[in-house]
Amino acid sequence: MFNASLKQLSTQLAERKISSVELTKEFLQRIKTLNAEYNAFITVNEALSLAQAQNADQIIAAGQANKLTGIPIAQKDIFCAKDWLTTCGSKMLSNFVSPYDAGVIERFNQIGAVNIGKTNMDEFAMGSSNETSFYGPVRNPWDVAAVPGGSSGGSASAVAARLAPAATGTDTGGSIRQPAALCGISGIKPTYGLVSRYGMIAFASSLDQGGPMAKSAEDLALMLGVMTGFDARDSTSLQRDSEDYTRDLEKPLSGLRIGLPKEYFAKGMSKDVECAVEQALDEYRKLGAEMVEVSLPNSQLSIPVYYVLAPAEASSNLSRFDGVRYGHRAKSYDDLNDMYRKSRAEGFGAEVKRRILIGTYVLSHGYYDAYYIKAQKVRRLITQDFVDAFKQCDIMMGPTSPTVAFNIGEKSSDPIQMYLSDIYTSAASLAGLPGMSVPIGFGDKNRPVGLHIIGNYFKEAQMLNVAHQYQLVTDWHQRLPTGID
């Protein structure tokens, strides 16, 4: 049962072959047994999960079930969930029990899905390896020596190890796609504004976007249908009609124009990743797609631009963690400023501090124009590149990450190398475009490789179709890490 698709689980629940309580217990048991190895969850709360499962069983019995009613979903610990410890991977919030539900959590609750636990993540979503978490690094189920990627590493690891049927993640510069690639699962970051940011603890507001992580494109489509929708409490939420993201899954791909940004196929990609990507593209050719070379001339600036804008917003977003109203406060201090200084020095980890410093610097008087304003201008150029490229193609493809999962500790002392993990994903984030990653095989040390699919604005259904058609003819997404059975 733990390896079943969302659709299969839904059918089983609807036919009363299994109850939500039984299903929830099964996954809670798996977490109990395996989480020590992967550290994918920060918080598990059996009582809360089982209460939701009981409620779900009643909804099902009343014949009011939605497709995901009663199915356990792992929630990234960045989403505030009422009565749940919500830490965002930080010591700063290690005592924060949320009094309210995030928009995304609310949507899952409304359809009677079960929150199976809060997943580990890089502290405040700042990281690409899940090593910055106050709760310790998450391990990659394909190789416990390897990182799962980040920042949604806990969610990726949980799905890969089948500790949850599906999970939520958030993506600011690649935080859904890169860990999905490194853990051999599927993940999609939708168009900016589709998923409510209300209650999703902010890292970089203009980039943050929630999205699902799951075993297949089909599962993602079901999850996305629940997660998206207008939320008046988020001013950047888009007012659009709700969509059935499964509607185009079965469409044939003949005539699909796949754009290959030449900059993404130049240097930087490791051989094993390149090999897997080429094979995947061959598969798409067989499915009737044609390849078009496109260019994103400013994309090489996306990492520097990202590392000006995201820290700038973060430095301000994280100011509320001051020890005054909630969260960590130093035990002893001399005066107000000392309280601020000590609470923040103790509450934040090194990477978060680094980004607050960078962000504070680029917003400072005298540097603002040179960094922040300049970066905003380049951001527009990067966006324009995509607009131009999408005139020649329907969808774009490339590698999600330049390498397979690296070892824990390998890059943690070299922030620049770490930041380059997101070299292929951050441009789409800056443009607000949807991006996804699907597993396409294995590279060095038998670690998974992901294919990055970039769609045009609001083309999530098409992207899921493109991924699903590939998954119908390949079985990479069904492979299980050793020991997961």
Partner: protein
């Protein structure tokens, strides 16, 4: 040396919305601490601001009534600094593109009119309150006020005296209440002024170094603080010193300003556009709609009172100092056509004086415009004297006889004697009884005349029409 004082004013006007600028919490004054602070106001992790349309509407109204440009888009920006009563660690304000830009306000000092130019007006949220008393060794934080919508209205350095500054502040105060965007309650902090003061040698074109004075919560303090600050700066400059740009606090108890922080100590606020709020676009149709719904403004009404009713600039200014007063005046005048000056005198005199004494507003005036008009019509038709009218007024104020002026006049026997025959009879009697004074008058003693008038008035118990008494007495004495 002759010095010129240069003043610019920044006003924080609290807007009359029901709820906060970025959350649904109430902004009602006086609630228990932190009972009007929801998840957004507390800046819990993950919460986001949602702009209150009512606040935008009020900002637009102000912009329209001062002839300013309504910017679309305008941008909300974050002003970053740490303070316990600033829950997010930043204040959402507007920086580079405020919603209102330019415009002007005409002020009237005595009979002179002057134009004060506005730089801008921008929307922002208020901070909470730190309570330093009541807690031993600790401070309490009340976030009820956090997120209250404010419109910060900034002038150019156009004022040249504390008097002008006060008149400007009063004119703005009257305008914001007139158009209903702010209740103007200064005690509760709904209307707060900061003054930027500098001095320069008279005739100089360059501005001196300015100091910003904060905490001016009454017009009187505004005036006193500017006067003190200008004197302080002039003294320093005359002693050969120079002014340090700084923020100063006015201490009303000591009547002085003192340094709060210098420019060097000022925070680098690291303003940047708030990514949680998209650029604010305002539809022209909405602006037009608000413009059409705007009431006749005090400035327009003031000049109308002068041209249509022949009132002085002073009278017109006082009557248009609040919309309610103007309405009261017009409602009275409507029932007493052509008697604008009489109405004005009574409203500015008796009514206003009595309201002040009872510490109440014209909206709570016990005498209605209709009732006042009924009283005044009895003055103008000669039924009662002005002096008697004041007695009637007092009775009406106290609610006697259904506030019916005629009934009170009747009951108190205040009707003037205007019958020539009756007055002549009295005059004859007085003349007969005061032969000596008659003689004195005829010998050129003018004072004797007044004494004779007094005698007649006394004989009629003050009810004789004094003008008639004068006339008849003069006639009799000349024959």
């Amino acid at each position: 040396m002759q010095w010129e004082i240069v003043i610019g004013i920044e006003t924080h006007a609290q807007l009359t919305t029901q709820s906060k600028i970025f959350s649904g919490s109430s902004i009602a004054y006086g609630a228990k601490p932190n009972t009007q602070a929801n998840t957004v106001d507390l800046a819990l992790p993950g919460v986001l601001p949602v702009l209150n349309k009512g606040a935008v509407e009020r900002a637009i109204k102000l912009g329209l009534s001062v002839g300013a440009k309504i910017n679309s888009p305008s941008i909300f920006a974050r002003k970053n600094y740490f303070y316990p009563d600033l829950p997010k660690g930043y204040q959402i304000s507007q920086y580079e593109l405020p919603i209102v830009e330019g415009g002007c306000i005409k002020i009237q000092t005595g009979e002179t009119e002057k134009t004060i130019h506005l730089t801008r007006a921008h929307l922002e949220e208020d901070a909470g309150k730190s309570l330093h008393e009541d807690f031993q060794g600790m401070s309490g934080i009340d976030l009820n006020r956090a997120g209250t919508p404010l419109l910060e209205i900034v002038t150019e350095p156009d004022m040249r005296s504390s008097t002008e500054a006060v008149v400007y502040a009063k004119t703005l105060h009257s305008l914001v209440r007139w158009i209903g965007i702010c209740d103007g309650n200064m005690q509760e902090g709904s209307f707060r002024c900061d003054a930027n003061v500098s001095v320069r040698p008279k005739g100089s074109e360059t501005l001196g170094t300015r100091c910003e004075i904060k905490n001016l919560n009454s017009f009187r303090f505004l005036e006193k603080a500017i006067d003190f600050e200008a004197r302080r700066q002039i003294e320093i400059l005359e002693d050969g010193g120079s002014i340090r740009q700084e923020t100063r606090l006015y201490d009303a108890n000591k009547d002085e300003t003192r340094s709060m922080r210098s420019k060097e100590d000022a925070n680098d606020y690291r303003y940047f556009p708030d990514p949680d709020l998209l650029p604010l676009e305002i539809a022209e149709s909405w602006v037009n709609q608000l413009n059409d719904a705007l009431p006749e403004l005090p400035e327009a009404r003031r000049s109308r009172y002068m041209t249509d009713f022949g009132l002085s600039a002073y009278d017109a200014t006082v009557l248009t100092s609040a919309r309610e007063i103007a309405e009261y005046f017009e409602n009275t005048l409507e029932r007493l056509p052509g008697q604008a000056k009489l109405c004005a005198n009574w409203i500015m005199g008796e009514i206003s004086g009595r309201l002040n004494k009872d510490d109440t507003e014209i909206t709570a005036c016990p005498i209605s415009p209709t009732q006042l008009a009924a009283l005044l019509s009895r003055i103008s038709d000669g039924t009662i004297s002005g002096k008697a009218a004041k007695i009637v007024f007092e009775s009406m104020w106290n609610g006697e006889l259904d506030q019916n002026a005629d009934a009170i006049i009747e009951a108190k026997g205040l009707k003037q004697i205007s019958d020539d025959g009756a007055i002549e009879k009295m005059v004859d009697e007085v003349l007969a009884a005061n032969a000596q004074q008659v003689a004195d008058y005829r010998n050129g003693k003018e004072k004797a005349f007044n004494s004779l008038v007094g005698q007649v008035m006394k004989a009629t118990k003050g009810k004789a029409n004094p003008m008639q008494v004068n006339e008849i007495l003069k006639k009799k004495l000349q024959t």
